[in-house]
Amino acid sequence: MPGITREEVAHLARLSRLELQAEELDHLAEQLDVIIGAVARVSEVAGQDVPPTSHPLPLTNVMRPDEVRPSLTSEQALSGAPAAEEQRFRVPQILGED
């Protein structure tokens, strides 16, 4: 498995919305290289015909009836908001539309 570069760490930091400092980038790149080197051993089994396990228990079809349950009040909903306005969460300007 290839190691991880500083540039890759910077890209991952952007994807995960972390404004990492320059020295953090260096340090992390170093550490991640070691960690990834150690965990990459799992790819030994990549070629094996083994089903992956995403859930530890074999449960299926857990569903609830389409019945309304009480919501929070808007006061409760907004109680932790860093900023609120007109009963809405106030957030900084959003760039670009999705």
């Binding site: 994807l15 079809n61 609830r64 309304v68 349950r69 919501s71 969460f89 106030r90 959003i94």
Partner: protein, 498 residues
């Protein structure tokens, strides 16, 4: 850059389309929590820890959401997965409380189907369905401080999460090839057919104007006679049938213009503008987009039993195509007449008018005539005219009772459309009723006979065909409110020629 004409674009290029439609289900509660989905509530009053993405909260799947997805899949002739999972689609956006959307990825609940759509000339085009999968809606942001409430130039935004978590079914077509110059029409017809199907299933009202159904139009061009797909653009959230058609048409012209100038199409999202029918650039998709999908560990797999699927298949309602054939037979219409009804979007209004008591031919006459003309003129949907089928049926009843003639009925309909009230109110307020009061009519007839002694004499003398002139005069005198047949009878009677 001047756009090349549509015809020129098609002369050189072959359009390939992909349509992604999101349908908001009409379940009582959200996809993963028990919050109500009722529209119009106070901001942030229909939220709970789960749909607000509070730390520690967990999702639980709405059984009716899954059932609706399966029913849609079946109606689209899809295979229903024996086992499938939800997946997390990871990306940051403030309207998405968890910063991942709970969706489905490589294991959709329904896949490999098709929908046959009827074009305006009555021919059928088969649109292949890639998949239909379950996911959740986002919250709603309003942008403050910008000139027009748009995102651009705003100083900050306000978020309401009432919509966050409302169940969505995303229906994705396979690449639509071979439609040629009719690609925009196919797009519109597909979305229209899908909307009708969704409504027939009763899983959503699918009102595009309310955002309950939204369409992304993906489009690319390739030089005529070639196979490889070109670079596509993704025009997002187009929200009317007309716009779907216009967006596709515009993108064909735009792509042809760019390609014709020897430039490259950029893979990006685009926004459609209702006002001028154009699209503008949105977000560039440079493949840095990495959603890091993985199976949602907080939800267990969905494995619909074959018994359940067959039960749902058996309980599907009559699907629109079948229903249309039945109605055509019931109404005794030729293919051409039925197509006119379909093209006008008049099936539902006519049916509702009939249900409200009107005869089929009368109902059809008004919706296809007067009302269709008006819809056309205003560029609106027939069903959205400010007159209800019940009101049209009432006008029909007034005609049948002899209280209105066709000319008056038209005036009543115009007045209802103009917001003057119910048909009976219009009739009363405008004094439009047919003059059937014999004494009033008698007086008018007597006056006309008195004013036209020689014509009267001719009739007395057996020249009955001369009565037309007197009828015309009476009608004129009563400003059209008389029943012409009755007037004729009365004149003949008075002149002893009956």
């Amino acid at each position: 850059m001047n756009l090349v004409s549509y015809e020129d674009a098609l002369a050189s290029y072959d359009p390939v389309m992909g349509l992604e439609v999101h349908v908001e289900l009409g379940t009582k509660t959200k996809m993963f929590c028990g919050c109500s989905t009722e529209l119009g509530a106070e901001p942030n009053s229909q939220v709970c820890p789960t749909c607000l993405g509070l730390p520690g909260s967990l999702p639980v799947v709405n059984a009716v959401g899954v059932e609706s997805a399966i029913r849609i899949g079946l109606a689209l002739n899809c295979e229903i997965a024996e086992w499938c999972r939800f997946a997390r689609k990871n990306y940051f956006y403030p309207d998405m409380p968890k910063n991942f959307q709970t969706s489905q990825y490589d294991e959709p609940i329904a896949y490999n189907g098709y929908l046959d759509v009827q074009l305006e000339d009555g021919s059928t085009f088969r649109v292949e369905i890639e998949r239909a999968h379950m996911e959740e809606d986002t919250g709603k942001s309003s942008h403050v401080g910008g000139a027009t409430g748009r995102i651009h130039g705003a100083t900050h935004s306000l978020l309401d999460y009432n919509r966050a978590g409302i169940p969505l079914i995303e229906i994705v077509t396979k690449p639509i090839e071979g439609a040629g110059e009719r690609a925009p029409e196919v797009a519109r017809a597909y979305v229209a057919e899908l909307r009708e199907l969704i409504r027939a299933l009763g899983v959503s009202e699918a009102r595009m104007d309310k955002g309950q159904m939204r369409c992304d139009v993906n489009l690319s061009l390739r030089p005529n006679g070639t196979e490889t797909f070109g670079t596509r653009s993704e025009t997002k959230n187009v929200n009317s049938l007309r716009s779907v058609e216009r967006a596709a048409r515009f993108e064909i012209q735009r792509h042809a213009t760019v390609l014709g100038a020897g430039e490259k199409i950029i893979q990006e999202t685009r926004h459609f503008h209702e006002d001028n029918g154009t699209t503008t650039s949105g977000r560039i998709k440079d493949n840095a987009e990495d959603y890091r999908y993985f199976p949602e560990p907080d939800l267990v797999p969905v494995a619909p039993s074959r018994e359940w699927v067959e039960e749902l298949r058996a309980s599907l309602p009559e699907l629109p195509r079948v229903r249309r054939a039945r109605l055509q037979a019931e109404w005794g219409l030729s293919d051409k007449d039925m197509q006119a009804v379909l093209n006008a979007g008049a099936v539902e209004p006519i049916l509702e008018t009939i249900a409200a008591g009107a005869p089929a031919d009368q109902a059809r006459k008004w919706w296809l005539g007067e009302l269709a003309r008006r819809a056309n003129e205003t560029g609106t949907e027939l069903a959205e005219q400010p007159i209800t089928p019940a009101q049209v049926a009432r006008v029909c009843a007034l005609v049948a009772e002899g209280k209105l003639n066709d000319k008056l009925a038209r005036q009543v309909i115009e007045a209802v459309l103009a917001g003057e009230g119910e048909p009976d109110e219009v009739v009363a307020a405008r004094g439009l009723a047919v003059v059937s009061d014999d004494s009033a009519l008698g007086a008018a007839v007597d006056q006309v006979i008195g004013e036209n002694p020689d014509v009267a004499e001719k009739i007395r003398g057996g020249k009955v065909q001369a009565v037309g002139a007197l009828v015309g005069a009476v009608m004129k005198a009563t400003r059209g409110q008389a029943d012409a047949a009755k007037v004729k009878d009365l004149i003949l009677e008075k002149l002893g020629a009956a």
